[in-house]
Amino acid sequence: MASVWTRSAARRVLAVAALTFREARRRWVVVAAAAMTLGYLALYGAGLYFASRDIAGGAISSMDEVTIKMIGAQMLSLGLFPSSLIVGLVAVFSSVGSVSGELDSSVAHGPLTRPIRRSEYVLGKFVGLAAMLTVYSLAVMGSVVGLAVGFMDAPTDNLAAAIALFVLEPLILCGVAVFGSTRLPTLANGVLCTALYGIGFIGGVIEQIGSIISNQVMLNIGIVTSLLLPVDAVHRKAVTELLPSGVLLDPSGGGVSFGASAVPSGWMVAYAVAFPLIMILLGMRVLQKRDL
């Protein structure tokens, strides 16, 4: 893989990325997801609106400043998990067929007999999808945070870091899905990636319970599943970055899965950043070796 990174290689990667981006935008998964997301945001916004109106109108009696802030933070943290779940599913389903789909339909025979390395092709696919997912997740997570801050005056701590981590989540899933699609048929890859996402989530829950009851085995299970797919770890880290410490009502963040106990280490975050790149490198290798 000692490929020389030349300008012409960059142009080819960008050509594939641009086409992939355009294609992703008009795929039904993305269109449907965008519609659902708008519905979800409307619902969330409506909830926040009514809550804020009652608080402002004094319907809930004698609430002090701290309590109001806590409710704001609570509402925000409640909104984050479903949002990241939607973004995650869109990431999986828009990427699972990225390479396999074109191979199955032999559409890829055209581009792959051009002067482009297969590794450049895989990278281009990832970059195009990643660009689409970045825009999408920025819009979703930005809206959720914006709504919570706007209506409830929810307190935020390290907003930039949190948003960056939220954007990282779909990129991790995209990396795995693109890697899988260099070898597996689209459907099998979709099942596998979704299952992996589920396992990562359960692992995260186990780790958090483990942290509350100080059970080392449970903590280790969480670490192992985070290594398999660090999405949930990144999500917990993002939530801790976003919400000021001590502002949540209970340390597990209002239901174990929504919050951020068992905060992942800096190493885990570094691993999570490297993770999509590792996946893409593996995908490049697999595609290089395979017959098309």
Partner: protein, 303 residues
């Protein structure tokens, strides 16, 4: 030699796709690669363009080893399946391919119009490919393969979806490209077509090359002549022996004579006239690609 392979072998699992293929294609030729369905034609082309990896053996295309991406700037490929992104228009598709080829943005537009005109699709530049008929998609595939003005074109059954006029059009296109110096590797089982355009051919059957050479070489050899006579006649033994001919059929006013090669025909006619018969017509029964194909392929099946 623009293409050269040595013992190129491909196994799909334990199924043999190509068995020790040794081929050389000279520059500027139209090379016909013939064989029945499932013989291994597409397998070889896919190895030559780098879509699949050989199990063993080696090859060079345009002076570069197989799978090398830099040689691909100078070649074009029409896959047997010719499928393209249906949601693009031809203009967008060719722009994409142009970028992958490293063409300048300013070159791509004119090149697109040029190749689309050559395949007769100039009016469809902005129609979604999804709405193309199969034949139109194949023409688009040919245009796409020609986009950068390649030195070497691989066409895997380029006329499989075309109507008779379209076939003829492609034939003329190929001869035009050849006149400009393009080498063409043509996979086909349409023998009459191959016969009309190819300089040299190879026949593959069940993964193996069973015949190869220039078209004229392969089609020479023993020939048969049918002679039509004004009145019943039987030539003398000595007359035939003089031209090394053998009498294959003899109707009262018609003879079929086998000769070692076509060069002997004038001598045969002269000898017959000398014997005093009146000849109304002489027809050479042509050995064509079809006979060759059927002979070589069925020989294999029996032996």
């Amino acid at each position: 030699m623009i293409i050269h392979t040595e013992d190129l072998t491909k196994y799909y699992g334990c199924k043999l796709g190509n068995d020790r293929i040794c081929l050389s294609v000279p520059e500027g030729h139209i090379f016909g690669f013939l064989g029945p369905n499932g013989a291994g034609k597409s397998t070889l082309v896919k190895m030559l363009v780098g879509l699949i990896h050989p199990t063993s053996g080696a090859g060079e295309v345009l002076g570069r080893p197989l799978g090398d991406t830099s040689a691909r700037k100078r070649m074009g490929f029409l896959p047997e399946t010719f499928r393209y992104q249906g949601w693009l228009t031809p203009a967008e598709l060719l722009a994409y391919h142009g970028r992958l080829l490293g063409m300048e943005a300013s070159q791509i537009g004119p090149a697109t119009i040029d190749v689309m005109t050559q395949v007769g699709l100039a009016d469809e530049l902005r129609t979604k490919i999804r709405n193309f008929s199969k034949g139109m998609q194949q023409r688009l595939g040919i245009a796409c393969a020609m986009l950068s003005g390649p030195e070497l074109l691989f066409l895997d059954e380029p006329t499989s979806a075309l109507d008779p006029l379209g076939r003829r059009h492609v034939r003329e296109l190929l001869l035009g490209l050849k006149a400009k110096g393009t080498t063409i590797f043509l996979n086909s089982h349409l023998l009459s077509e191959v016969e009309l355009v190819c300089d040299s051919v190879a026949v593959i059957d069940r993964a193996r090359i069973v015949a190869s050479g220039s078209l004229s070489e392969l089609l020479t050899g023993p020939c048969e002549v049918e002679v039509f006579l004004a009145e019943p006649f039987r030539p003398a033994e000595e007359t035939l022996a003089g031209v090394r001919g053998t009498l294959l059929e003899s109707a009262p006013e018609r003879l079929v004579i086998g000769l070692p090669d076509a060069e002997a025909i004038p001598a045969l006619v002269a000898a017959l006239v000398h014997e005093g018969t009146r000849i109304l017509g002489v027809e050479r029964r042509k050995r064509n690609l079809e006979t060759l194909f059927i002979e070589t392929v069925s020989e294999e099946q029996h032996g």
